[in-house]
Symmetry: C2
Subunit: 442 residues, 2 copies
């Protein structure tokens, strides 16, 4: 199930429609192939593919309604015959793509679309936007998972994502990348992602005392409570939690954890751990959430913070250190002609492509080759597979859990040297000789 | 008309629901007031309010469907009586807010919600998300408008916004902030925002030559064509444009402009201007778009670029230098008690508030006072007005053009010293004596 629903073919840049009118006027109906790829990024050494579920749903539904055609007509920009063409147009093309959960690198096509020129052109804006936001967030989340070094990590970003679509994309993409849950209830309902969350400061302040708030919550959620302990003073909050936690135990229940949401986390978590341990509550977990991202998680763990699980929010959910990918969609073939753009500093590889990955005997990724579709480098595995055929899905879509497993397997096979945040080792990607030769021909 | 449609009450963090269950269990039904405000931001000296249209729409529609209640029931987390309460719940509260297009400052409430505790709590996530993204983008766009110093500026960000909701919010918010148009066709249809856009590099590469592409386009759009001239070589592109432009003139039409999308813009725009002028086409405009933001616009104009209008995309549409606001929603009153949170470094002002603005005789903004609702500082104008009353809109909503005019008037009244990007003058905001005194009582 994809979210949000495809907003329709008018979710596009005007120039997609004016160009389409130009192609139509000149009877340019040859099939065109466009490559979707990400240009090198100073703060990202690898990317995680996501967003295909929504793409397939959109391309299957792709259709202008009568109301949309009427609206386009009254803008006065378009001729009647062109609008008649749009009104009956469906997406009938072929799409190859890397599976969701695949790891990819700069300049590697993550998707190629082959369709009659107008169709292939007109879906550009939607494809970049949708695959872009999903992959951006999966990539950011993977970095957080790497930094958490095996500790559970949960998506708390919903309130500060850039809108509702992003909030949903973050929940889904972060789950693909290994997050154990999300606070986003609608994502839980939509995709079955485990939900997480207990109380905010407002809950604590709504009661006469912190202890009253904890008691009220424990009464209702006797086996899943996590008390937020920093509304007033976190050490006092830890002590109040210990008192209530011991009362819960006497009733046959167990306090699950306490949560810190502000302050200096390393010493604070150590002090809270001591308070809980001295109260005989060594099984009570310490959760923390406080403007974390991968850099903060790495620092906290290296510094000896005694935190059992992390909630990460805003900085993850907006990919704050890199809030966009330079994802582009470029025409690489039209009819029988391979084409490319050569503007200053922005080279595009012409031709229909495949990405091949070489792996070691133990499964470790060794390097990729960007080649022609019919290249066959020895022992390397092609990563782009058929997603749509003549406008229809080429096969059943994987479940979210299958995608999550795929990513986990891939991520283990990517050497840690490529994952570190400072001076990561560039992953080797080469262009095949035949693809190089083809560039000289066009 | 708001976009996207309200995704429903499950678009929320789980803890809003678990807290609500806690309040319900303890029969805590007193009205609560929450303040929505933004904490100080190192890169933003002022903010622009937006997003209210969607908020009113959502609060009027706020209702759990039977299907949503059934789904919540099967999670096993909630008691039957609480779910029965949710199933009949509507938003019946009062909301005061700054109008869209109002300029506001850190710590000033941009909205206050007063409703029975559960209702006021449960809308938190949605309100922060929606007002947050709209205001974030209006603020970023206002900075770009300031930098463009009167030149027209257009939103080209749709493909790289963080999802579809953000793409729509950017188009609407940037229009409020003074952008003259957008490339986003759906935003044009939804709100009547003027549309802009002509061709991409793929259009040029789809033809045998650049001149062929320009001729084809001119034939179809003889009075609104803007040729993209940097697919191969921008100076050659300018010369080809001049040839085609003169042919258009001979037919009684006129080339509107050329567009640069890469390269060193200052000298390039000067060279292109010379080519066009020497061809007798001094009325042909130069448009430019190339990863611009407010900093780049300021630099280009200061450096003497001969650019008549700007397209700004990704960096504006993701607010890349500040991709989130620290917007929070804090309980400030419950029943008869003023409440506040005092966690380390995160102080909240208790009590129901009003923001008053002092202006000079010539209209210039002099400073604000955050006070109690019944404060009446001499000659200062209250900025929060009644948006909803007992769950219904308090009056008709302004049109987008009215909002845009409101912002334009406000922005002119804000001194340039507060708008500059380096070392801006902080705008004076004080807390009233009575509001200070109230803090000591709680």
């Amino acid at each position: 199930m994809s979210y949000p629903e495809f907003p329709g073919p008018l979710f596009t840049d005007l120039y997609e429609l004016t160009m389409a009118a130009g192609y139509f006027d000149r009877h340019m109906v040859d099939p065109a192939t466009f490559s979707l790829f990400v240009r090198p990024h100073p703060r990202r050494n690898y990317f995680v593919a996501a967003g295909l579920e929504a793409v397939v749903d959109a391309l299957v539904r792709f259709q202008f309604s009568d109301e949309e055609i009427d609206w386009l007509a009254q803008t006065g920009r378009f001729k009647r015959d062109f609008l008649a063409h749009l009104s009956t147009m469906r997406f009938t093309g072929n799409v190859t793509a890397m599976a969701e959960g695949e790891i990819f690198f700069p300049d590697e096509p993550v998707m190629e679309v082959t369709a009659p020129l107008i169709q292939a052109q007109i879906v550009e804006t939607y494809l970049i936007n949708t695959v872009g936001v999903a992959s951006l967030m999966a990539t950011k989340a993977a970095r957080c998972v790497h930094a958490a070094a095996g500790r559970p990590i949960v998506d708390f970003s919903l309130r500060r994502t850039q809108g509702s679509h992003a909030g949903m994309a973050v929940a889904r993409s972060s789950h693909i990348a290994g997050f154990s849950g999300t606070s986003n209830v609608l994502a839980g309902k939509t995709w079955g992602i485990p939900l997480s969350g207990t109380m905010a400061h407002s809950f604590v302040t709504a009661f006469e005392s912190e202890t009253d708030a904890f008691e009220a919550y424990a009464n209702l959620f006797p086996d899943s409570a996590v008390f937020l302990i920093d509304t007033y003073d976190p050490l006092q909050g830890a002590k109040a939690s210990a008192v209530v936690g011991n009362r819960m135990r006497q009733k046959g229940h167990a306090l699950m954890g306490v949560r810190l949401d502000s302050g200096e986390m390393i010493s604070l978590s150590q002090q809270v751990r001591r308070i809980l341990d001295e109260a005989g509550l060594s099984e009570v977990k310490i959760f923390a959430s406080s403007g974390f991202d991968e850099y903060a998680l790495e620092r906290l763990i290296a510094g000896g913070a005694l935190i059992d699980a992390f909630g990460v929010g805003t900085r993850m959910g907006t990919s704050a250190d890199a809030p966009y990918l330079d994802m582009v969609y470029k025409m690489v073939r039209l009819g029988e002609r391979n084409v490319r753009k050569v503007s200053e500093g922005k080279i595009t590889l012409a031709g229909e492509k495949q990405v091949f990955r070489k792996t070691a005997a133990d499964g470790r990724f060794l390097g990729d080759i960007i080649g022609l579709r019919d290249d066959a480098p020895n022992g390397a595995e092609p990563l782009l597979t058929r997603l749509m055929e003549n406008g229809r899905p080429a096969g059943p879509m994987p479940t979210l859990e299958q995608i999550r497993s795929r990513f986990a397997g891939n991520f283990e096979r990517l050497d840690d040297s490529h994952k570190r945040f400072t001076d990561p080792q560039p992953y080797p990607v080469v262009v095949s000789d035949r693809l190089v030769a083809l560039q000289k021909e066009c």
